[in-house]
Symmetry: C2
Subunit: 154 residues, 2 copies
Amino acid sequence: MTRGKVSLAYIAKDSARKATFTKRKGGLIKKTQELISLCEIEACGILFNPYDLEPEVWPSQLKAQQVIQKFRNLSQPEQSRRMMNQESFTKESVEKIKEKVTKKQKVNQQNQMTQVMYQCLYGKGFEHLSTDGLNDMSGLISQKLWEIPRRLES
Amino acid sequence: MTRGKVSLAYIAKDSARKATFTKRKGGLIKKTQELISLCEIEACGILFNPYDLEPEVWPSQLKAQQVIQKFRNLSQPEQSRRMMNQESFTKESVEKIKEKVTKKQKVNQQNQMTQVMYQCLYGKGFEHLSTDGLNDMSGLISQKLWEIPRRLES
DNA sequence: GAGTCTATCGTTAGTAT
DNA sequence: CATACTAACGATAGACT
């Protein structure tokens, strides 16, 4: 055997890559579950892979929805600030994102919005449907919706 | 030393729990990044913890947003089917969810919709921010919002 | 290919600083 | 409280079925 130090580079060989993927995906999920148990924190993972059409989601579909929602519920200014300060973000090409925006704007907008709204509402967890105290969000909606696009166009 | 087998139960002692949390969180993130590198898959993790106000998000804020968006873009009928078929979901108490739904149904429905829509639009990635043509969603909204509760009531 | 098996590597609990 | 250390455990690469 005498296995050498593991290189963390992309595994070119299909069969080896698949094998490693399967093993390590299991390990990752297990580690997540252990951390959740040991420390009673909330965590989730999502993983797309070329072997399955559907993504792997853990620790459960429902919990993932909850965690994602909690994440999204953070105020957008905070999310934006965090994003901008992060090294990982600065590495991404702003040009690439601009392209995406432009491209997307070309598609039929009625269909786009319809789909976005549909998926959004549908994807919601059950527990986020409370709105006590949120009586007039309409101004906020139109105000905040365009903050990011403006930033990108500068 | 002679450390025994690690119990995966909740660590009651605050300091020990925090220490384990910090170590294992690092390990988890590292494992994720390794798997991404080795197999060139798309994955992300989100983790809330009592020590930080903000969640840990990896491999980067932007990538996480992308993966979450991809996840949400799956057609909802598929998501629903997957959710229902998954063992992890069936383990959740349907009764518990039913309770939640019932409870939540009592709140004002207009406010409910307002918040759902707000968070939805707000949380969306850059490419979903166009609103041209968002002229008559009302039929769709009221139709789809209740599909999941109905299913649960059967 | 998908399972097993095991030597070896990598992670981490407990301890020390 | 954080950081460093290191023995022991757990994950897994590669071999084999």
